[in-house]
């Protein structure tokens, strides 16, 4: 469904992505893992055209999209929930959802989709006329996801959905993502919360400083010592701790 080949993206003169190749098959939930600054968000931004890759190609459903404008990429049915949610904080929840459905010309359809969102997240219905900026982080994340779902995208890009949320909310959000995935949405997700993310993902890529350094299924990656060491808190330090404790 989505295929990146040798994508290199620059911020000015700084190379953020060093030849990224990855693919997402229809119906999959693929996760990109990696530390801060590894270039995870840049991959998603390159896909939706917020930054233009200098080299390499990106194909979506057989169509080359790497030089297209964001608006046109969105029209091909790719939804992007950006890092830190970026809801419109000065608009109400209702208006945010309305913007999510901006490309829908039919008012009835917009309201139908909005009802679906409210069914999914009843709290949003309660907050319908409230300014979105006054909501809690979890509610804002729900709004950001609902906003992206207004267009029923074939592919949903999620950029760190758990960022800044309490552990309880993180579980909620991941449960929602899992549900979405099971309902047939193809998802490409970027996460730092490796443990949770890998549990629901079909396939994972591990990124370090702009390069893909490992990839595989949940099981493969769990067996990989480096992943456990760097992301799951089972590294040398812990083993040494065991030595000390006897």
């Amino acid at each position: 469904m989505l295929k990146l080949i040798g994508v290199e993206t620059f911020y000015g003169k700084i190379k953020a992505l060093h030849g990224i190749s990855l693919k997402v098959l229809e119906g999959q939930l693929v996760c990109i893992l990696g530390a801060n600054g590894a270039g995870k968000s840049t991959i998603l931004k390159s896909i939706t055209g917020l930054v233009k890759p200098e080299y390499g190609t990106i194909h979506f459903k057989g169509r080359r999209i790497d030089q297209m404008d964001s608006e046109d990429i969105v029209k091909l049915s790719i939804g992007h929930v950006p890092e830190w949610r970026r809801i419109f904080s000065e608009l109400t929840v209702y208006e945010n959802l309305l913007m999510g459905g901006f490309l829908l010309k039919d008012d009835d359809l917009i309201h139908e989709r909005m009802e679906e969102a409210f069914q999914h997240f009843p709290i949003l219905k309660k907050r319908k006329t409230q300014q979105a900026g006054n909501m809690s982080g979890g509610e804002q994340q729900m709004l950001a996801i609902s906003r992206a779902l207004m267009l029923k995208p074939k592919l949903l890009l999620l950029d760190e959905p758990s960022l800044g949320l309490s552990p309880l909310l993180v579980q909620d959000i991941f449960a929602t993502i899992k549900e979405l995935h099971e309902s047939g949405v193809t998802i490409l997700m970027v996460e730092q919360n490796v443990n949770q993310a890998l549990k629901i993902a079909d396939y994972g890529y591990v990124l370090t400083t702009g390069k893909i350094f490992l990839s595989g299924t949940y099981k493969d990656l769990l067996e990989e010592e480096k992943v456990r060491e760097q992301y799951l808190g089972e590294g040398k330090y812990n083993r040494r701790a065991k030595v000390w404790s006897g």
Binding site: E71, V74, P82, W84, E95, L151
Partner: protein, 309 residues
């Protein structure tokens, strides 16, 4: 005593009419600011261009007549609006689009230089002599208990209220209006919703040019004067926008009318009865502005901006 009240009522009425023009110019400032966070210092010059275009259209179709008839004035108005649409689009193309990724400050500087260039260009094309436009209503008025209500002033007031309400409705209730607000807050997120950000910006500049043209068309017969310096009125309308609460559309009309009334009353009755007021006529508007901002830093109808990540 009685004459004092009539005088005052008369001054307040013409103050409201003058303030309505301030309100329309302020509306132009606010529209562009709301959508792009740019203060367009060429707003007054856009008004001047609108007034000139209107004058030449009317002159062109009027021939030998001295007072334009209603439909000529209407043609002039429609013509200047059409011109404003093209002109606003052009301004977006030469100012906003190339500088979109630069800081807001450089766009503001570009609007200032655009203002200077427009003044020079218009005096090159139209000559530097002032023109004297005629009101389509002649001197028509009616007498309301000693207060003279001129038909032109009444038209100006109604026109301003209608325009401000229309834009208020557009910005808050229609899809494109909300998309403009969304774009102003976060253009990247708006882009991810499929909002055509470039077109939204162009639309805002076109709106601002239309509002400016209409205010120019309404102002010129009232002032009976068109010259290249009338754009400086834009600098008088700027405090109106700040007073009403920059970014608030209804604030434009509130701020505009307050300033208009203060100006006429202080120049009239107050200066007549208190001589020291005469000395501070030019700055009284700014004194009021500072006083209001000390009590309400966001302006009368402005809301505090939420800056949250």
């Amino acid at each position: 005593m009685n004459s004092l009240i009539t005088d005052l009522a008369q001054e307040i009425f013409s103050g409201i009419a003058l303030g309505s023009i301030y309100a329309l110019i302020a509306l132009g400032f606010i529209l562009i600011f709301k959508a792009t966070e740019v203060v367009n210092f060429a707003q007054g010059e856009l008004m001047m261009v609108g007034a000139y275009v209107n004058f030449f259209i009317i002159q062109g179709i009027m021939g030998d007549l001295h007072v334009p008839t209603g439909w000529m004035f209407l043609m002039g108005l429609v013509g200047s609006i059409l011109f404003a649409i093209v002109f606003g689009w052009f301004l977006d193309l030469v100012i906003n689009r190339p500088l979109r990724d630069e800081s807001v400050f450089s766009i503001i500087m570009a609007t200032i230089s655009m203002a200077i260039m427009l003044r020079a260009l218009v005096s090159m094309i139209a000559g530097s002599e002032s023109l004297v436009p005629q009101s389509p209503f002649g001197g028509a008025y009616f007498n309301l208990g000693g207060v003279i209500i001129s038909v032109l002033d009444l038209t100006i007031i109604i026109g301003a209220i209608v325009l401000v309400s229309a834009f208020y409705y557009f910005f808050n209730k229609t899809r494109w209006g909300i998309a403009m607000q969304a774009t102003s807050e976060d253009p990247i997120a708006a882009q991810l919703m499929g909002v055509p950000v470039k077109r939204v910006y162009a639309l805002v500049w076109i709106f601002a040019a239309i509002v400016a043209a209409i205010s120019g068309v309404l102002l010129s017969p009232r002032a009976s004067l068109i010259d290249t310096n009338m754009g400086f009125l834009g600098l008088k309308a700027f405090p109106a926008a700040v007073l009403g609460g920059f970014g608030s559309i209804p604030g434009a009309i509130v701020g505009g009318i307050i300033l208009g009334v203060i100006e006429t009353v202080s120049m009239g009755t107050l200066s007549f009865h208190f001589h020291w007021v005469k000395e501070i006529n030019d700055i009284i508007v700014w004194i009021v502005l500072i006083a209001v901002l000390m009590i309400r830093p966001t302006g009368i109808l402005g809301t505090e901006e939420i800056k949250k990540v």
